[in-house]
């Protein structure tokens, strides 16, 4: 994965401060936590798409991941555990001109928030959802989550997790999201690109982002360091859709697919409301 230096050379590093609230760093995340890496990719994607901060709204639930909203200098809501999807629906539907992003964790989105997550996808409301998937409840100290791999250790699965995990991308797709993708914190430039596409997409876009909780998941599952974890789970544990296309299922093994996994065109919810209902209502009135 070494990057040819000449090609990548940038004269000036990206200025994250433009999008960060002054005086809030260092953030609360533990040393080596992947959440910060994800946030940086997101900020670069936002910069690329050129959204004004005044018209940007970020909504999160509760969890380490959900603390993201506190750092970004825009309209931010740190809502309730699992409910960011509902809060965001209210905001976006009220003001469709607000570019709206939901930040969630695997626990927030797939455990307590599962229902709101799938209903957001079903409505295909124009919101981009980031799931920071570290396969653990970080904030509460390392219990297994609905994405923790079977057999893994957590503070509530000391004998190895017996629960089969969800695939958030499969769920999003089945529920009706029209853009579904996966990347990792390790693949930071790829992630940026995918996030940009997700932001550009009209309708519900979901990006499942594998990142690492070295403090709980890492320690309990014998990863020696954050980078050891990133190598193991994010780099070696995943494969791009393009690469996978050339391999047999056996060769792919347990690796998770990266890239855009599903894309479709369907009417967007707010537009639907405006087009169909308001028109009909006017018609009804006139009649």
């Amino acid at each position: 994965m070494a990057v040819p230096a000449a090609k990548q050379r940038l004269s000036v590093p990206f200025d994250y401060d433009k999008y960060l609230r002054p005086g809030k760093l260092p953030h609360i995340w533990c040393p080596g936590c992947g959440h910060g890496i994800v946030l940086k990719s997101l900020l670069r994607a936002i910069d690329k798409i050129g959204w004004e901060k005044d018209n940007l709204c970020m909504v999160s639930g509760i969890g380490c991941s959900s603390r993201t909203t506190g750092y970004v200098d825009c309209n931010t809501v740190h809502s309730l555990h699992g409910r960011a999807f509902a809060f965001a629906t209210g905001i976006k539907f009220s003001k469709p001109e607000l570019n709206t992003i939901v930040i969630s964790g695997d626990g927030d989105a797939m455990a307590i928030g599962g229902n709101h997550f799938i209903h957001l996808c079903r409505r295909n409301i124009d919101i981009t959802v980031l799931v920071y998937s570290n396969a653990i409840y970080g904030m509460t100290g390392g219990q297994y989550s609905p994405t923790t791999p079977a057999g893994s250790y957590a503070t509530t699965s000391r004998y190895g997790n017996i629960e089969p995990p969800f695939d958030p991308c499969e769920m999003a797709k089945a529920a009706g999201a029209t853009f579904v993708a996966r990347s990792t914190a390790y693949h930071t430039k790829e992630l940026e690109k995918i996030l940009l596409q997700a932001l550009e997409h009209k309708g519900t876009s979901v990006v499942d982002i594998i990142d690492s909780c070295p403090i709980y998941y890492g320690r309990m599952n014998k990863f020696k360091s954050a980078s050891h974890m990133m190598n193991g789970l994010e780099k070696d544990g995943t494969i791009t859709v393009a690469q996978a296309a050339k391999l047999t299922p056996e060769e792919i093994g347990g690796r998770q697919l990266r890239g855009i996994l599903h894309q479709a065109e369907r009417p967007e919810y707010c537009e639907n409301y405006d087009n169909i209902i308001v028109k009909q209502a006017t018609a009804t009135k006139g009649a």
């Binding site: 609360i28 533990c30 904030m139 509460t140 100290g141």
Partner: protein, 181 residues
């Protein structure tokens, strides 16, 4: 507040100050014959930032479980020291890490400065045992529990492979403190 002895361990999230508090309470109440209550507090993140553990030791039943006037406090970081030292009694004692705590608070209490973290790193090769060294120091300086009770308490909490390391760390704490007396 007859017989009530109040101890506070403080430092940053990962330094094992809570474990130190627990071991101190066990030394007093399980391996000694006193009553003890151990409590702690941490920020809303439940990790990171300054953390403190308190132990109240008494021959009588202990009602109020939090510190009222601290007999002895130990601080491994500047942040913890500055945040928590105010409750120390006039005739109390403050033990600080000599490398970490540079702004030494002023007060009527006695101040003892020891290179606890450095000792853990250098002499014992494991920063993680700083809390055990702290226990040794605290035991020796306060005398509120016997060295034997403390050793039993430490050993009962430590997994087998680390018994020797921790024994050494505790002894180091005892001896560092003895030199201060």
């Amino acid at each position: 507040m007859g017989g009530r002895y109040e101890i506070r361990f403080s430092g940053s999230g990962g330094q094992g100050m809570i474990l130190a508090g627990i071991v101190m309470a066990e030394a007093a109440s399980i391996f000694g014959d006193k009553n003890a209550v151990q409590s702690q507090s941490y920020g809303p993140e439940s990790r990171g930032g300054a953390s403190k553990a308190e132990v109240i030791i008494s021959s009588d039943p202990i009602d109020y479980p939090k510190a009222t006037a601290i007999d002895c406090m130990l601080a491994l970081t500047q942040q913890a020291c500055s945040k928590y030292y105010k409750d120390i009694k006039d005739d109390g004692m403050l033990i600080i890490d000599s490398d970490e705590v540079k702004e030494v608070p002023t007060g009527a209490f006695k101040i003892i400065s020891l290179p606890i973290l450095e000792t853990a790193r250098k002499d014992l090769g494991k920063i993680i045992v700083a809390n055990i060294i702290s226990l040794g120091v605290m035991t020796e300086l306060t005398g509120i529990v016997s060295n034997e009770a403390m050793e039993n308490a430490v050993l009962s909490r430590v997994p087998k492979p680390f018994l020797e390391l921790n024994k050494k760390a505790l002894q180091k704490g005892f001896s560092m403190a003895r030199e201060q007396k």
